[in-house]
């Protein structure tokens, strides 16, 4: 019930999470979360706010250390990795943060080229051209390259964030609430860009969102997190017939149902 077994059929999954637990003080956010994401698969994790979607992604990226459990990336255990071993794993990641998290002291192209300059030692001139190519891929022109993030609209910042996430051609992409704070049209544009980028790179993608339209568009498979666990997972087409009351309540946005509060009892 909690796992979808069809995903992990072929090879070792790109991401394999077992028994993940994380608490902040008395607030147990994740307890015993299991999840597999197959290679080249795009999975969306949905759930109400405060259910630990962000905490899940931060654990996988390594921004937070889990209390217990296992996170394997391409078959390699990553919990507890530090230093250059951690850097090697991070080098295969690309992350689009919720607020884009662009470095505001740098220009747009410096943001996009950050990983290329700092990790790969690419000369600045070359990195600038590479960044401009990536910006073109997300629909931004050369003219935007020398502007500062603060001068851009929210949608443009998201595009730059996306360009930065894909700049180093990562194998695994993370999208944290990619459409939050955007209008419906811009949200749709970002969704299209994400699908395009993920397919273009042949990457594995993990998206967390509470926007069902976005989840349906981006993901091959959807998993719902509730009470610190994955309570349902299945292909994006199956979610209407999940037969799960919690899932039904969430996707139809009903106020009555098993989901009572945004934060479950500790």
């Amino acid at each position: 019930m909690t796992e979808d077994r069809t995903a992990a059929t072929a090879a070792a999954p790109a991401i394999r999470i077992r028994g993940l637990c994380k608490a902040f003080g008395n607030n147990r956010v994740l307890h015993g979360l299991d999840l597999d994401i197959g290679r080249g698969e795009s999975l969306a994790v949905i759930g109400t706010s405060g259910t630990g979607k962000s905490v899940l992604v931060k654990n996988v990226i390594g921004l937070i250390r889990p209390d217990s459990g296992s996170i394997e990336i391409d078959g390699v255990e990553t919990v507890g990795l530090t230093g250059s071993a951690r850097d090697r794993v991070l080098a295969t990641f690309g992350v689009l943060f919720q607020g884009a998290a662009l470095f505001d002291s740098m220009t747009v192209w410096e943001n996009v080229a950050f990983g290329l300059v700092h990790n790969r030692g690419m000369p600045r001139r070359e990195a600038r051209e590479a960044a401009i190519a990536k910006l073109a891929q997300v629909g931004l022109g050369r003219a935007q390259a020398d502007r500062y993030p603060a001068d851009l609209s929210g949608g443009m910042q998201k595009r730059v964030g996306l360009a930065r996430a894909i700049a180093a051609e990562p194998q695994i992409l993370f999208f944290d609430e990619p459409t939050t704070g955007l209008g419906p049209i811009m949200g749709e544009i970002i969704n299209d860009l994400i699908v395009e980028c993920v397919r273009g790179l042949g990457a594995t993608a993990l998206t967390i969102t509470h926007d069902m339209a976005s989840a349906r568009k981006i993901a091959d498979r959807i998993a719902m997190i509730h009470g610190g666990r994955i309570i349902w997972a299945g292909s994006a087409g199956e979610i209407e017939e999940s037969g799960n009351a919690t899932v039904d309540q969430f996707i139809h946005g009903r106020t009555e149902g098993p989901i009572r509060t945004t934060v479950h009892a500790a």
Partner: protein, 257 residues
Amino acid sequence: MNAVASVGRATLNFLAATGRLTLFAGTGAMHCVRPPFHFRLIGRQMIEVGYYSLPVVGLTALFTGMVLALQSYSGFSRFNAESAVAVIVVLSITRELAPVFAGLMVAGRIGAAMAAEIGTMRVTEQIDALTALSTNPFKYLVAPRLIAGTLTLPLCVLAADVIGVFGGYLLAVNKLGFNTSVYLKSTFQYLEVLDVVSGLVKAAVFGFLIALMGCYHGYHSRGGAQGVGTATTNAVVSASVLILAFNYLITEAFFAR
């Protein structure tokens, strides 16, 4: 019982905070001495800490030197010891006033700026983004600031020494009727290398403390704009208190017989 419990809780919190700060300082210092170095960032911070602080540090030193000459003259003239004015000015400036005042002014300017910048980066997930781009925030944000603070504040203080003594000289010669050559001669007659060096050592320690407090409070700030505001205040207040405390400790180490 409640009073005892709250004392206990406060003690535990204090010890936890001390531990956190010590670990932070240790990690930061380790990244200062271990390559690779981000020379571009270190240079930018040195300009920020040193060059842009010079006007405010210089003005502070100038007026301090002048006030010192005026006050010590009005005091010492009561028992015909006016000749000590030059010595008092140069020793007070180099040993105490230049490093402490420069430290406090730079704490207000730079400590606050560092806490606000790093704090904003924290609450807007920019520090997480750095980590996700496999860049260690200690290496990239903290170490350049610690290095810049430690290396640059002594240079500021050296300038403040000269300007402060010059302030005292200007006032003594122009207002109090001292003879130029006599005043200069007595300025340098009793000045020892240790007087200046102790001031510069203090400056290096203060520079490190200012950058450490700015980075530490910024790095651990949370909760949006208000959190960044609190971090900024804490950075300036804690740096100022630590400067005064370490000033005593270093003075004790250098001059206690």
